[in-house]
């Protein structure tokens, strides 16, 4: 709704003379609901922060509830919680990290469900904003993953061993290292965290923009013409179908984010062989 208002106002329809109010990056900018000052720093709380804290509260609340009194034979919420845990442990940690992956299951588990619920807010009526489509949030996640796997690799393989294993993969002709070593260094140290954040952000950004475009088009095309009404109905149907598609993409992106975090941690734990 705010997107419609931002893009052209309620009176903007097909034959009323205004062009199609295509949504842009401005639909991701939110006004502060209230501000406060703490230790001489200004803090502004907007919809994004509220959804972020709500997501964290839902995750913490649900899993505290699911595992409050764990039983040998799980029932109800514990079943769901264990299913999620097994999915991360067997599907991601054991297969990707391999030996030593058990220790990182809680880390990956928290990331998967936090990213998923933050993505999922994009199709929750009333929230309608994937929190991860605000670039700062995937960046923070990617930085946390980066700060885990780089020190871990240095700790496990030694400072020089870490960079040697990264920049000089075995089984390559010697002369190729002149070309390969800088590429590997740049791609691992700089490009990895960047694409890790951008992948999640851009998917959610693009998905939200797509939904907004078709919702606004459905609204814009309502007018006193047959083509307008047909177009409006088609556009609305497409928006509904895309909502289902988005639900799939959100889960997939949360999975991919966790999977890549596991791959990075795995590459830090075991050198390439």
């Amino acid at each position: 709704m705010s997107a419609v208002l931002a893009a052209g106002g309620l009176d903007c329809h097909l034959l009323s003379g205004c062009g199609f109010p295509a949504p842009g990056a401005e639909i991701f900018v939110f006004q502060d609901i209230f501000t406060f000052t703490l230790f001489q720093l200004e803090f502004g709380i907007s919809k994004v922060h509220i959804l972020l804290f709500l997501g964290v509260a839902i995750i913490v609340g649900f899993f505290m509830y699911a595992f409050r009194r764990p039983k040998l034979v799980p029932r109800g919420a514990q079943n769901v919680g264990e299913l999620g845990y097994l999915f991360i442990r067997d599907g991601i940690a054991k297969e990707t990290i391999g030996h030593g992956g058990e220790k990182f299951v809680p880390f990956l588990f928290s990331f998967f469900f936090l990213v998923w619920i933050l993505n999922f807010f994009g199709i929750v009526p009333g929230a309608q904003l994937p929190v991860t489509s605000i670039f700062a949030i995937p960046v923070a996640f990617a930085v946390i993953v980066y700060l885990v796997w780089v020190p871990l690799g240095i700790y496990k393989q030694g400072f020089f061993g870490f960079f040697k294993n990264m920049m000089f993969p075995p089984g390559v002709p010697k002369a190729m290292y002149i070309l390969l070593a800088p590429i590997e260094f740049i791609s691992n140290i700089f490009v990895r965290p960047f694409t890790h954040a951008v992948r999640l952000f851009a998917n959610m950004f693009a998905g939200h923009l797509l939904l907004a475009t078709f919702s606004i088009a459905a609204f814009y095309l309502i007018s006193a013409s047959v083509i307008g009404i047909l177009g409006s109905v088609a556009s609305f149907g497409l928006a509904v179908a895309l909502t289902g598609f988005e639900a799939f993409i959100q889960a997939l992106q949360a999975y991919i984010f966790t999977l890549l975090a596991a791959v990075y941690i795995g590459s830090a734990l075991h050198a390439e062989h």
Binding site: G91, E95, F201, A202, I256
Partner: protein
């Protein structure tokens, strides 16, 4: 210096179209080969699917960067 040719309008959309060619081909190859691998060896479904999605994510990142860049450097 005089301009030989100038482009105005939504250049960002053209840029995104160009940026999507490579990843489009790449994702097609990844899923094509992945489905073939699953058909040949259905019991390795878990590992193949995981690696397929990994390759998909790496290829897709390029298209997504192409999508975001016009918003950042546009206008």
């Amino acid at each position: 210096m005089s301009l030989l040719a100038e482009l105005t309008g939504s250049i960002g959309s053209i840029g995104y179209g160009l940026a999507a060619i490579g990843p489009g081909i790449g994702i097609g190859i990844i899923f094509g080969q992945g489905v073939q691998a699953i058909a040949r060896q259905p019991e390795a479904y878990g590992v193949i699917r995981q690696n397929m999605l990994l390759g998909f994510a790496l290829a897709e990142a390029l298209a997504l960067i192409g999508f975001v860049v016009p918003f950042v450097f546009g206008t």
